[in-house]
Amino acid sequence: MSLVKKYGKETSLSLLQNMLLMRRFEEKAGQMYGLRKIGGFCHLYIGQEAVAAGTIGALDLKSDYVIGAYRDHGHALAVGMDPKEIMAELYGKASGCSKGKGGSMHMYSDEKHMLGGNGIVGSQIPVGTGVAWKIKYMEEKGVVLCYFGDGAIHQGAFHESLNLAKIHDLPIIYIVENNQYGMGTDFKRVSSVHDLAQMGYAYDIPGKQLNGMQVMEVYDEFVKAVKSVREEPHPLFYEIKTYRYRGHSMSDPAKYRTPEELEEYKQQDPIPILLKQLQEEKFITEKEYKKMDDEIKAICDESVDFAEKSPEPDLSALYEDVFAEA
């Protein structure tokens, strides 16, 4: 039985919808960046959608948490944050999820258990480990998904965290989203180990490699993984192989890779792959897909409209949120 059939129409369609929302949102963000509506660093998630959709799709965000790096728009959408407040944050507006104080790299939602959005490579890994500590300390049933890129895996923060997580059997799943380039550097040029999934073994945490262009495979694995961690707290480690179609950030023309390579990966685009699987099961028609896409495009347009019309933060906001008041 196909995985699409195994999980049924509703779940599979929602994964498609989720990925498509990320794709269209990021296209819009890239467009608005080009129009200089968005400033600074802006790292688009285009190509990697199946990772956030497939993993976060397996969570219960009442008890589970998500924390990641600076390529975070996709994860923010996947946890269910409002595209309007994400776009407004990109615009630096007061109505943004972080009141315009975080920007592209710092999407947070206390309510949706989205803990950022961290701009320092690997810096979120110990923090995510601490969130898992709290779950265990409070004897809750939650799981933390902690994301980072292939560039972060050599940071001490990664190694120190896996060690701590294993010593204390913390309920956390570490996910290296291996998009194969740490900025402009092919990960193989700077990693002594090319099969990154092996890197958990040093800490007695078995690693597994997944194809991050196949959302159903990612989802299927994470349904099981999250369940096992929820039942009996322990750390897991996944390398999810993926590919970003755009540069590292908006300022990167990505000249370090060949057009042939890019084309090869575009043939593995996770969205058409899932669409085809859904069509094979007759879960969606071409017409219905077009309708879904149009609706999503409208949501993205609305998010831009909302951001455009939102006010700038008041200057007095400068001094707010530095400290919590007693």
């Binding site: 948490y65 924390i67 943004g96 999820c97 972080s98 009141k99 315009g100 104080k101 975080g102 710092h106 947070y108 939602s109 206390d110 803990l115 950022g116 959005g117 961290n118 701009g119 320092i120 810096s123 979120q124 890994i125 110990p126 923090v127 995510g128 480990t129 601490g130 969130v131 898992a132 500590w133 709290k134 300390y137 409070m138 001490g156 923060a157 120190e160 965290s161 060690n163 701590l164 010593i167 707010e320 949120d321 530095v322 400290f323 919590a324 008041e325 007693a326």
Partner: protein
Amino acid sequence: MNREKYTTENKEETKMPVITFREALRQAMDEEMARDDRVFLLGEEVAQYNGAYKVTQGLWEKYGDKRVVDTPITEEGFTGLGVGAAMVGLRPIVEWMTFNFALMAYDQVVSNAAKTRYMSGGQFKLPMVMRGPNGPAEYLAAQHSQALQSIFAHIPGLKVVSPSTPYDAKGLLKTSIRDDNPVIFLEGELMYAWKGEVPEEEYLIPLGKADVKREGSDLTIVSYGKPMRISFEAAEKLAKEGINAEVIDLRSIKPLDEEAVYASVRKTHRCVIVEESWPFASVGSHLGWLISKNAFDYLDAPVEMVASEEVPMPYNHRLELAVQPQVPKIVAAAKKVLYLDD
């Protein structure tokens, strides 16, 4: 005022119990852990070994593995773990065996502890204390003997606290543990054995409130942390020469009780700042600028500063003492602002 006389000897007819600085810190943690289940302690050797400097002695026995946690020697990892735990509602006390090792955790302190609240538009609180011995000890050389408060005080989003007596240490640490923000709590290896009166009943000392440890009228000596003791000794020495120094203990560097300093300077018109860090871009140099800006009309002499020499700490004892503030240096600075140069 007598309770803060910087002496290790028992005074006659003490009404309050006399305990050491380390016992005062321990009592603060013990009481706060008993009061709030969310408070837990983690760091190197804090549990089974009873603490590298025995500050946490007995706490593991009392609270167990869950709440008193020995960590691997990975400051970045366990400090970051504290940040994450604090973000979602726990109240960690992170012990750094010394502040020298806190440099390994500096990214977690600066990038995450100090900034997460702001970057998230105020969505998260970071109630955590990072504490341990800071400042020079003896015979430890450059990597293990340095005062690093300035690099923490420099960062918006951190509170920085520096007690100088057992009484203050307990009251300030209890307040720091209850604070909903990241607090850097500076102790001193050579201070742990200092003794002082600490009442049995509970008390808290607010952050951001300086303490006039000795009243005087001729000049103001401002310090914090360990050099408070030599500042006090210098004041006693000056008193024998008929010079009446007021000695102010900042107690917390951030928030900084500027007004207490100005009030004293308005009275004495002269000021000497004493600190054991290097003077370049330091707490003391910043305070000197504030005084010259906000109390300029009251000053009868330029503000003097006694800090450490701008060198890494040498191992040799004679040399290492020469690097640091000492009583004669403070006395000389006091005379300078009084235009009493010998």
